[in-house]
């Protein structure tokens, strides 16, 4: 007779899962569902559909966490090449929505290849550095920079500036962590400062300029583009120290907030839970990021170190940019709040990243010789 060994099964299910990280993720997801229920005015269908998104993303995370690192490493190049091919296909045959060519219609489904690159670019760059000699030379950095710039330029051309900048950031983190010399970093900052006015005049679309202008002074366009920022600031500010209480935020509930369940969900949270809620949420994010940084610090190889560091810092960038946007210190760009905003794609991308981190942390360490 075969008895189901619960303990053993449990061991096999959780052996590659980092419980500490998992607890943090679950806590954030739970907060997300609670806020979503309020943000949609008690719409259970939306909440259930988000639960489904979370379920799918969780399964993907589990699978990735169980994949040994060597396999993930072997995937870096193919994933990157596939991503670039898809991006070129988008540029040639992509579908246009709202003036931007971002989607590829495969007949059965539409995909947005730039999403794939969010993971593929740091993997590819880390793989490239890993293959280089022990001591990195300046030409290695140039090579990695080229790997980074190709997809970034293709995506910026679509135009999808938000995603392009995020991928650029994830790649710059890899370069930074790989030890790019300070002289070059300072040089790049100087060049960026000089070229910014040029970019402003020749490299941006009207609507992008408008967004930045609006950020600098929302009242300039109070009923148009600045409306979102003003209403969002009112929501956060009127929350006060202790908040108005769950489902009691007038800004959110009376439809003053734009997209209260996706990009602006933090305003809803902030209005209803106040400064105390905000502080706790930031703390929770900080704990998760801290845990991830520890994983990166303990990572066994150059590849895993760079990948773990880049994923962690990119996650932080999402959080910072989203909250900065809704609280009026950054321009309005369509970036969701990780693990809290409604939506399946970002949930999958984020948890996929966590899956890689868990795999790095839990698989037997192979010391490079």
């Amino acid at each position: 007779m075969i008895t189901l060994d619960v303990k053993k099964t449990w061991y096999y299910l959780t052996r590659y899962i980092d419980n500490f990280l998992l607890a943090g993720i679950f806590l954030l997801m739970l907060i997300g569902l609670i806020v979503l229920y309020s943000a949609t005015g008690g719409n259970t269908t939306r909440v259930i559909s988000q639960l489904l998104n979370m379920g799918i993303a969780f399964v993907i995370m589990w699978v990735v966490a169980n994949v040994p690192l060597q396999k993930i490493m072997r995937l870096a190049l193919p994933l990157y090449v596939l991503g670039i091919i898809l991006l070129i296909a988008v540029a040639l045959f992509g579908e246009i929505h709202n003036g931007a060519r971002r989607w590829l219609n495969l007949g059965i489904t539409r995909i947005q290849p730039s999403e794939l690159l969010k993971i593929a670019v740091p993997l590819m760059m880390a793989w490239y550095f890993d293959k280089a000699q022990i001591t990195l030379r300046w030409r290695n950095y140039v090579g990695a920079a080229l790997i980074l710039l190709l997809p970034v330029l293709l995506i910026a051309r679509q135009p999808d500036l938000g995603t392009a900048l995020l991928i650029l950031a994830s790649g710059l983190y890899v370069l930074f962590l790989a030890g790019l010399s300070w002289r070059i970093i300072v040089g790049l900052i100087v060049i960026a400062a000089i070229s910014l006015p040029l970019f402003w005049n020749f490299g941006m679309h009207d609507y992008q300029r408008k967004r930045v202008m609006t950020m600098l002074d929302p009242s300039q366009d109070a009923l148009g583009a600045g409306y979102h920022t003003i209403q969002s600031s009112i929501a956060i500010g009127s929350g006060g120290i202790s908040g108005k209480g769950w489902q009691k935020g007038t800004q959110s509930q009376l439809d003053f907030l734009p997209e209260p369940s996706t990009d602006f969900i933090f305003s809803v949270f902030s209005e209803e839970f106040g400064l105390i809620g905000n502080g706790l949420l930031l703390l929770l994010y900080m704990i998760i990021i801290g845990r991830c940084l520890i994983i990166a610090a303990k990572a066994p190889t150059r590849f895993t170190r760079l990948v773990a560091g880049s994923i962690t810092l990119t996650f932080f960038t999402y959080v910072f940019v989203n909250i900065g946007m809704v609280s009026g210190i950054l321009p309005v760009v369509g970036i969701p709040l990780p693990l809290i905003s409604y939506g399946g794609t970002s949930m999958v991308t984020i948890l996929l990243g966590f899956g890689i981190l868990m795999s790095i942390h839990t698989h037997p360490k192979l010391v490079r010789t």
Partner: protein, 625 residues
Amino acid sequence: MNDTVELRDHSNELRHFHIRLTICAISVLLLFGLLFSRFVYLQVLRGEHYTTLAEANRITILPLIPNRGLIFDRNGKILAQNYTAYTLEIIPDQVKNLESAIDKLATVIEITSEDRRKFNKLMRESTRFRSLPIRSRLTDIEVARFAENRYRFPGMDIKANLLRHYPQGELVSHVIGYIGRINDKDLEQLEIHKQLENYRGSLHIGRTGIEKSYENVLHGQTGFEQVETDAVGRPVRTLSRVAPVAGSDLTLSLDINLQQAAIRAFGDFRGALVAIDPSNGEILAFVSKPGFDSNLFVDGIDHLNWRLLNESMDRPLNNRALRGIYPPGSTFKPFMALAGLELGKRTPSYAINDPGFFSLPGSTHRFRDWKPGGHGRVDLHKSLVISCDTYYYMLAHDLGISNIHNFIGQFGFGKKTGIDIPGEADGLLPSPEWKKRRFNQNWFPGDTISVGIGQGFNLATPLQLTFATMLLANDGRAFKPHFVKQQTNHHENFIKDDFVEEMYRLDLKQEHLNHVKKALTAVTQPGGTASRAGADTTYTFAGKTGTSQVINIKQGERYIASKIDERHRDHALFTAYAPAENPRIVLTVLVENGGSGGSTAAPIARKVLDYFFLGIMPEPIEKSG
């Protein structure tokens, strides 16, 4: 030696990595600190300021829905109108115990389980702060009864909405179509077309027919009202107002009486009829039978009616005139005859000897004539009058498929006519290229032969057939078929009536046309296939009968109508124009499973023409059982 260098490098690298990681960690802390200080600024330092702003955030912009344009027939009879209906709406957030409150409400006015189901569905899709309808079309008595008891039902109120009504119901459902509640898909489409703003507040959008194709004309411009609201968003005072602009009214060329005559003429049969004015392409009658009641769809159709309509064997939702594709059968022959004359393959006097079948050289396969034993000596005139198949088998063989495809394609077969209602079918005029594409097979000589009598791969809609006959009646002039005669907007004092469009004109020899047209006139006279339908008319009419096969009859077998299941019987076709010498109307009749064109389709056409010329309305049929 080498090993120690590597080890040193390795630990060196790790050290550098940890330094950089620490820098990142410190940056993360600093940036989170920045966010937190922003919160302190917004929520503590300026908290009071923003609280005041939130309290004052009571100015809402309310959309004012424009009246939808009306639709009339050519006599000014109304086909689609608006009426004010009272709807009972609930704001779920303001009702304490929703279930028991609705139970209580049901004691005052009738709430069916279907109403509850619809309401619960709306509630799942919406927020608790929105006002949602639970009962529409309240009677005056119900309105009064609720008003009396209103104090007992907080969070519930009666609202006046404009609802669409189609007084002619089934008679014009396939033309007018219907409007339906705006759903997520519509919103997506509206957003793409930058129309979302104009539909803020609109509940309905055109789904099919004229209601859909003229949606942007009928809908009108949404107005806006800036209002001050109380704490729960109820308007208290109007601050400013931009009035809505009602949609334009449409007058159709359709004659509702002719439409009525056509439907009555059909009796119990299913089928389609299209009648068009050949001098401008205006549609006079457009019937697909059975129809359905468009009114069922306006507020979302209920389950039972939907199932009845959708699962009915008679397929009432299928627009047969527009989308039904049938082999044109012998109605294809006039165009073949014209092709023979124009391309020099036949002269009017050339005659064949018809043994009752045709075989390709070197083949024993017999393409049979409908008349066993054949028609004897047959020339072009006789071939049309008695509808000889053998003549056209031979002609098709002599012309070849490419000639047939190119010449007859000019009459609109195999492509959309471009009529102004959505969903038109393409039909099919086969060619070797098409067959290669579709089946990856070569074209066989035998394929050409059956195309010659409108069978084989040939498929046409009743609308296409009418269009082609119009070209014949018009000596080659093609007008775009259309329903809308006039568009009027009273608010803007604007009338548009240039809907007639001459698409092209075929260059055909008048002498050739006259030969074919003379034969078509003889079809309705003694000796012709529609002689019975043409007996004792006071006007002349020309036409061609046709039969389109539903099932294949095997070699050596015979088609015996009485032995075949009713649904497998042939479709009867008749396409005609009248008066023959100076056509004022062109029409096509298709009778599903009606048998032969001469015996069922042509008499229906005769009845419709009798109404058109003489004003004789057919008697309504007695519904038996």
